[in-house]
Amino acid sequence: MRIFGHKPTITAWIGIVIVAGFLVIGIFAPWIAPYPEDRTFDDVGSYAPPSATMWLGTDQIGRDLLSRVIYGARTTIGIAFLTTVLSFAIGIVTGLWAVVGGKIVDQILSRLVDVMLSIPLLIFALIVLSLFGSLFQSVIGSLTVLICVIAVLDSTRVFRLSRSVAMNIVVLEYVEAARLRGEGTWWIIRREILPNALPPMISEFGLRFCFNFLFVAALSFLGLGVQPPLADWGGMVKENAKALGVGGMAPLWPAAAIALMTIGVNLIVDWILSINARPSGASAEM
């Protein structure tokens, strides 16, 4: 089987299976999960060990862990994916605009990004979320606020990358040829630079997806991310951390899910990177 005209390697297949598996689980969570995510089982109690009816046992307030991991896939992957898409849209457009739009545009955008980058991401997110989070929460919902804030903050990194990738493309002669032809800025961005900037960006997409994924988990861990009773893997690690003290395995399951998903994405990214690094027929030296 070929994907995008290339044959995946064995490790790429492993990654594809992992990611596809989680996607299916996330999308069909209500049908797959044995119990609702917020149902507590008082009769079983908290931190119950795995059993025939509850394969992974229960969490700190007696909810089925397996169901929560399954629902968590939906929330965590969904948020991370939307965030990354949004952050790439913002980052690429501003990055390419900085390159094509002239010195002044570049200076303004780049210095703005420098300012944002000089503040640690997590602290910045904490400030923004605690200051404005409740303000917009009622209007667009807390998850949307979370996605937008992470996307804007993360887009500074994407901006940096897309700008430097585009810098190397904009000096190429086919871009100059477009200028000589009298093409507008938007056409040059869209038709000349973007198609050539995308391949290195696609692999970055996978990496940033993992970062965002972990970032959502970290914010949840601090209590500013996904709010309970919604299940998400990062939050679940936090909620169940105490179980380790009493010999329970509860936090290990969501942690394992995070690790597995990260590995899966990275296996695919590695494969995409190796396609890009491989000389294409035309440029290979004899």
Binding site: R181, G182, A284
Partner: protein
């Protein structure tokens, strides 16, 4: 070299038998090539790109580039089969017994270290010499290679010396271990003709003085004629013909070798061109172009008439390309005027009308980067048609097909990406893109210098044909005087941003010469083995 000579039992230092190199996809790059090399002998490997010249050169060191591997054959240096050695043993061989000189010296030096440190690194590392010995030997080499102030030359960094000097320093680096065999891979291709002649002379002298054997890889028959004793003609990884230099140049036995030789000879003749209109398409008067503080174009006046070809020649850095950029509006014009069809053109690109842009088209030197690799040929050629003439998609499609036929490409190439095309085909697409705008003037910046000889010839013929049919004018920038003789009605010679001589091509190429023109003309290698010695002797007297 006394100790090296005593070790050898016979005169033969390198013997390659049935060398076979394949790419990992099974493509045969070198197909059972055999050669022998004696001490003090130079064998020229000649062929077009893809002929496997460099692959054989590296194969002589039992080295293959990434994605290739040696699948058969024997490589013996002084009777030792290098392929049978361990990786360690091979490393010991390389550099010490056999050294490689690459085309781009700039890419072969580490910009962060002084030249001397890089030159003495190998002998010290291999334990052949102590640091002081190596330095003394390097100094001797710098002197032999005629480098300026050899005592302090090594103290400089690679970017502080000129391209020709760096190429010579690279030769010194290769010689640093006193190898028995040197592999020169197009060592002068990246250099100007006037620099090339110096480097050639020094390489020749060095080989003689130290009785080294050499493989000399090049695509230029006239260059190989000067340095080599024998020539091997290669094509598609196979040997086509092997013989004495004089025999290959004078009486090649195979058709392919004959085509190569006659193509090169044609370049030496002045061709007759039809008369042209007198109406000036382009008229540049006293133009001055400045990069920040550097004056790249200084008080240049030049004009191009309808259906005329005007060649601009000069060495790299002479301001040829800057002149083109000034006309195009990419280089700011400080003073002077550029008139197009009698109308003054604004200096900056942004102020020019769409019609102004359409009427002047540009063809780049490197077709690889001049075409967007993510667009199909139809998009690349169709865009100007759509942009300038606002045609419907169906009309654009028809026009693209027309243009493809016109530049000699099959119509079904329209759906392909440019990356699937060869260099010559890409350049034809560039020409089609320029034609799509239906221009009055096409500025060509060395459009054939990145192409193989026979392919370049096809492109030149195409340009000529289009001029006859469409009456388009060319401003043709080149460093190749052979091309100028063949296609240019008039020629301008540039030196340091100024035009030092200008006139009908026949006049420029006949006495009385401007001194610089003469130097330029006399530096172009001719297809005679005695040429280099003659020119050097003449210059010494002069």
């Amino acid at each position: 070299m006394a100790e090296g000579a005593s070790k050898a039992t016979t005169d033969q230092v390198l013997k390659i038998t049935d060398l076979r190199i394949e790419s990992i996809h099974g493509l045969v790059l070198v197909d059972n090539v055999s050669l022998e090399l004696k001490r003090g002998e130079v064998l020229g490997l000649i062929g077009e790109s893809g002929a496997g010249k460099s692959t054989i050169g590296l194969g002589a060191m039992a080295y293959s580039r990434g994605g290739c591997r040696i699948t058969g054959g024997k490589v013996e240096i002084d009777g030792v089969s290098i392929r049978d050695l361990s990786a360690e043993g091979r490393r010991e061989m390389r550099g010490r017994r056999i050294a490689y000189i690459a085309q781009s010296a700039a890419a072969s030096f580490n910009p962060a270290h002084k030249i001397i440190d890089q030159v003495i690194e190998m002998p010290v590392k291999h334990g052949i010499m102590s640091k002081t010995e190596a330095k003394a030997w390097a100094l001797e080499l710098f002197r032999a290679l005629d480098l300026p102030k050899p005592e302090i030359f090594g103290e400089r960094y690679p970017h502080q010396v000129s391209g020709g000097q760096l190429q010579r320093a690279m030769t010194a680096m290769a010689m640093s271990c006193r190898p028995d065999i040197m592999v020169f891979d197009e060592p002068t291709t990246a250099l100007d003709v006037t620099t090339q002649i110096e480097v050639l002379a020094l390489i020749k002298k060095l080989i003689h003085e130290y009785n080294t054997a050499a493989l000399y890889i090049t695509h230029d028959l006239a260059v190989v004629a000067q340095v080599s004793d024998r020539i091997m003609v290669l094509r598609h990884g196979k040997m086509v013909e092997l013989g004495d230099t004089k025999q290959i140049l004078g009486a090649p036995r195979t058709d392919y070798a004959r085509a190569l030789v006659s193509e090169r000879k044609e370049a030496d003749h002045l061709s007759q061109l039809p008369k042209v209109d007198t109406a000036h398409v382009l008229e540049v008067t006293n133009a001055v172009g400045v990069y920040e503080t550097f004056v790249a174009v200084n008080n240049v006046s030049i004009h191009v008439a309808k259906s005329e070809t005007v060649a601009v020649v000069g060495e790299s850095g002479s301001g040829k390309s800057s002149l083109a950029r000034l006309i195009l509006g990419l280089l700011p014009r400080r003073s002077g005027s550029v008139k197009f069809n009698g109308k003054e053109l604004p200096p900056a690109l942004k102020e020019r009308s769409k019609d102004d842009l359409r009427r002047i088209q540009f063809i780049y030197q490197q077709p690889d980067v001049a075409l967007n690799p993510r667009q199909t040929i139809a998009e690349i050629i169709g865009r100007p048609v759509q942009l300038y003439f606002g045609r419907s998609p169906a009309e654009v499609k028809r026009r693209v097909a027309e243009l493809l036929v016109e530049v000699g490409l099959p119509e079904d190439y329209a759906g392909r990406l440019s990356t699937a095309l060869s260099g010559g085909q890409k350049q034809r697409v560039s020409i089609a893109r320029a034609l799509a705008a239906e221009p009055d003037l096409i500025i060509c910046d060395e459009p054939t210098s990145a192409l193989d000889q026979l392919v370049a010839d096809g492109v030149l013929k195409l340009l000529k044909k289009l001029q006859d049919e469409l009456g388009v004018a060319y401003l043709f920038i080149t460093h190749d005087l052979g091309i100028v003789r063949r296609i240019a009605h008039r020629t301008a010679v540039m030196l340091k941003g100024e035009i030092v001589a200008q006139g009908p091509t026949a006049q420029i190429f006949n006495p009385p010469f401007h001194p610089y023109t003469e130097r330029l003309i006399s530096s172009v290698p001719e297809m005679r083995t005695e040429w280099l010695d003659e020119v050097l002797a003449k210059r010494r007297v002069g």
